[in-house]
């Protein structure tokens, strides 16, 4: 097999939560050596509390901080070093690591790295061709919001996403989870690829300054243009298409099962009427033109709901697609594990943990692209807290055993976090009753062969 794209590239990943940590996971898939750095008293929030996701078999286990699902997905393929960055000694080791690294990623608020003299001008003194990637809520600089605290949830409102998302006539709505984080993830991957290439060509590194807010705004470009030149405010049209009709999300057979479909043109409308066995509708002048269908969207929604409710969502997708109509079922987090297309593409990967981790085998999303000549895969499970402290400090930085032990004693490195609580666990049946989760399948391990 060919060499992986980032083989030989070392990344210091001093980042928390979702956006850049996930970029680090992507870089690890691409072959980079990614070193995740956490403070002994500042474990990543995806190890603790409400951001952790779930635990294997819904049990904390002994080392609960190494077992949450969200941490495990995001930080796959990395090495782990704990280093107290609030301690000058810790920062000194960080500087030593910078000297032997290619890329540094951080997501502290702007003042922190400056205060530690670890901002770009200072990192450059240590390693002139270093590539530094900073991700903040609103971006560095002197803007009015640059120092505002931010997370994806509140930014979904600020960057315009909520205004254009929601049921028609209803309140602005959030959608999904932490959407803008992932736009920063991929902005970072894009910028790092470009910056590495430029460095290879010229020998020069640089600073990549990402503001999540800005990446989110970019995704509404046509709304911004419409506002700027036509004075239009956009708004919420639910699941409808701005000009094609009908389009929507309709009920299918079973509890909380749904199908989406979109009719582009007259031919597809005719095909849909044939499929529904409704020649009368095909002839009906009230729905004969695309403009009429758009105007009578609510009536069409009624007709479609009544029809789709009798079908299995997959069966209906195949029928509609067979007639040339774009359609697809709403897939849940469970469904994708059994979907033949996801299976054929290999999007979900099985990752086996070493026995001492007591995590068994789990299934994680890989990446949304495939490379034809250098196939990628998750290369190893997410690391246990501080699992590579020894190799990184002793082998890579050449520290002697006595100094290493001193660091452990001083709490500058650790393998157990000194702060943080495990995320809450709710018995699954109760979680279903309260509506916290949709359903619970006690036989998931057999079904997934875990």
């Amino acid at each position: 097999m060919s060499q992986l794209p980032l083989e030989g590239i070392r990344v210091l990943d001093s980042t928390y939560v979702f956006a850049l940590p996930y970029a680090g996971g992507q870089l690890a898939d691409l072959g980079a050596e990614v070193i995740k750095i956490e403070g002994p008293g500042r474990p990543d929030v995806t190890r603790t509390g409400g951001y952790a996701g779930t635990f294997p078999e819904n049990e904390w286990g002994e080392d609960w901080w190494n077992r949450p699902s969200t941490f495990s997905l995001i930080n796959r393929g990395k090495r782990s070093l704990t280093l107290d960055m609030t301690n000058p000694k810790g920062r000194d080791f960080f500087r030593q690591l910078v000297a032997v690294s290619d890329v540094v990623m951080e997501n502290f608020t702007p003042r922190v790295m400056r205060g530690w003299e670890l901002d770009y001008p200072n990192l450059r003194k240590i390693r002139p061709d270093i590539i530094l990637v900073s991700n903040t809520g609103y971006g560095h600089g002197n803007g009015p919001y640059s120092s505002y605290p931010a997370q994806a949830t509140t930014q979904e409102a600020t960057h315009g996403h909520c205004w254009v998302t929601g049921y028609p006539g209803d309140a602005p709505s959030k959608a999904g989870a932490s959407f803008v984080d992932f736009l920063s993830t991929w902005t970072a991957v894009f910028a790092i690829g470009a910056a590495l290439r430029y460095r290879h060509q010229t020998g020069q590194g640089q600073w990549v300054d990402i503001g999540m807010y800005q990446t989110g705004v970019m995704f509404l470009s046509e709304y911004l243009m419409d506002a700027a030149v036509n004075g239009r405010e956009g708004g919420r049209i639910g699941n409808q298409h701005p000009y094609r009709a009908p389009q929507g999300c309709y009920p299918a057979q079973g509890h909380d099962q749904w199908i989406t479909l979109s009719v582009w043109d007259d031919a597809q409308w005719q095909a849909l009427c044939r499929l529904m066995g409704r020649d009368d509708l095909a002839q009906d002048p009230r729905f004969a033109t695309a403009l009429a269908r758009r105007r009578r969207h609510n009536e069409l929604d009624e007709l479609l709901r009544a029809w789709t409710a009798g079908f299995d969502k997959y069966d209906l997708m195949h029928r509609l697609q067979g007639a040339g109509i774009p359609a697809g079922p709403v897939l849940t987090g469970r469904d994708v594990h059994f979907d033949p297309h996801y299976q054929a593409r290999g999007f979900l990967e099985r990752v086996s943990y070493p026995p001492e981790r007591q995590m068994g085998t789990r299934i994680f999303m890989g990446r949304p692209y495939k490379l034809s000549e250098t196939p990628l895969q998750i290369r190893s499970p997410a690391p246990a807290f501080g699992q590579d402290n020894g190799p990184l400090l002793q082998d890579l930085l050449g520290m002697d055993q006595a100094s290493y032990q001193q660091l452990v004693q001083d709490g500058i490195i650790a393998t157990t976090p000194t702060s943080g609580e495990p995320g809450p666990i709710t018995p699954p049946q109760r979680a279903v009753e309260t509506g916290a989760i949709g359903e619970w399948d006690p036989h998931y391990r057999e079904k997934l062969d875990l």
Binding site: T54, T70, S72, L73, Y138, G139, P144, P149, A157, T158, H161, W163, V164, T165, A171, P172, S173, A175, A177, F182, W186, T187, V189, F190, A191, A194, H200, Q206, T215, V217, E222, M225, R232, I237, N239, P242, C249, T260, Q321, P326, A327, G328, P329, L331, T332, G333, V336, H341, R345, F347, R362, M365, R367, P368, L371, T374, P428, D441, Y444, L450
Partner: protein, 397 residues
């Protein structure tokens, strides 16, 4: 003038949609030389609204105008042998192709990746499609709403008891473009280091799916399936109405619950029934009442900086018009002005991120249809001006 990070990279952009156009634009924004190749009738994106001053003209599609900045443009009819021959000449002069045709379409024209790679072994071809190049649904018709549905995100968007909800706009397409651009720069770094070319096969549905960390992992970790939120109860983490719009507030970050109670000037929030996360969840509807009552006469623009001072995670729902006047975006020099030959001066959303040494540069407006035909075919490939006229009449360009 500073160089771009992708300086020296030449790209052919065959895409007619948002995803491929956005991907190629990002490459152009950071220094690549991108040529958009459209069918003689124009890319289908030119027919997508909204339009400049609501005039549905081929040169006035706002999505086309904004997603093809910094590119040159020529026309080519790939359904003709002559067009295919030109394309094969052009392919030998570039590093990257970006395309978004249905898988198999280019192969049916003799222009599959493996054919093109014979002409240019280090070629990177980025293909961005709804379902990817292979698998049982690869020939299925994609649409924005279908990508959200099959990418899991609709299963958790909206509220219980109502239908799942798509994101507004065409953000799945943008995801395909951005994520595809990320994979492309990685393939380019490898191409430069090793001479290795490859096809980058991006699935828009998988782009959407790859954002669903907690949703996907729940099942293989403990057998659960995530779901949409309940229709009533605490709207913390969801927009709530105030005097002039909507705000959103979240616990966590650097703020304590007392700070949040202070922001809302509501002593009731300090009562035991709201004391911790469990209590607040149990008394969610009462909590919302207190908060909504306290902000009904207050402006989001007053609350926003006040919340920031108290280190509270807080946002205001901004409209597109507000975003066009945002002082933060101004400070980041996010918008740039361009003079387009047909629509004139317009301000465009421009800068994805700042690269200190190789900054974003706005060099060119989107091309008009066939604007650079002479430059590409006459100066570039060495045909005569007379040939150009013949090719036009033959509907090749």
């Amino acid at each position: 003038m500073p160089e771009g990070a992708l300086n020296g990279i030449k790209v052919l952009d065959l895409s007619e949609d948002i995803a491929g156009s956005f991907c190629a634009r990002l490459l152009a924004d950071y220094g690549a030389e991108v040529l958009k190749l459209e069918p003689p009738g124009g890319a289908s994106l030119r027919r997508m609204g909204p339009f400049f001053h609501d005039d549905p003209h081929l040169e006035k599609s706002l999505p086309f105008l904004v997603l093809n900045l910094n590119k040159k443009g020529a026309t080519i009819n790939l359904a003709t042998n002559t067009g295919q021959a030109f394309f094969k000449e052009l392919v030998q002069r570039v590093e990257v192709i970006v395309e978004s045709y249905t898988p198999g379409h280019l192969a049916s024209l003799g222009l599959s990746y493996s054919e093109l790679q014979k002409l240019n072994p280090s070629l990177v071809m980025t293909s961005i499609t709804p379902f990817g190049q292979d698998g049982p649904y690869s020939q299925y018709q994609g649409e924005e709403i279908v990508s959200y549905a099959m990418g899991m995100i609709m299963s958790i968007s909206g509220v219980q008891g109502r239908e799942p909800l798509k994101h507004g706009g065409f953000q799945a397409q943008y995801e395909g473009g951005l994520f595809g651009a990320g994979a492309t720069t990685m393939a380019l770094f490898q191409q430069q280091a090793t001479g290795q070319g490859q096809q980058v096969d991006v699935s828009i549905t998988e782009c959407v799916a790859s954002t669903m960390m907690a949703t996907q992992t729940m099942y293989p970790f403990m057998g659960g399936t995530a779901i949409r939120r309940k229709p009533a109860g605490s709207s913390f983490g969801h927009p709530m109405p105030c005097s002039d719009g909507w705000i959103i507030v979240q616990t966590g970050g650097g703020a304590e619950w007392e700070d949040i109670a202070g922001l809302f000037q509501a002593q009731e929030l300090l009562e035991p029934r709201f004391a911790d996360r469990t209590q607040r969840a149990r008394n969610g509807e009462a909590l919302d009442q207190v908060v909504v009552e306290s902000i009904k006469d207050r402006s989001k623009w007053d609350l926003f900086p006040e919340a920031a001072k108290a280190r509270i995670l807080f946002g205001v729902v901004q409209t597109p018009l507000e975003l066009t006047r945002c002082p933060q975006l101004e400070s980041r020099n996010f918008y740039r002005e361009i003079e387009h030959p047909v629509v004139g001066k317009v301000r465009v959303p421009a800068v994805l991120c700042n690269l200190s040494l190789t900054p974003y540069q706005l060099l060119m407006p989107s091309p008009t249809l066939g604007q650079h035909n002479a430059e590409i075919y006459v100066q570039g490939l060495g045909y005569s001006q007379q040939d150009l006229c013949r090719l036009r009449q033959l509907n090749v360009i």
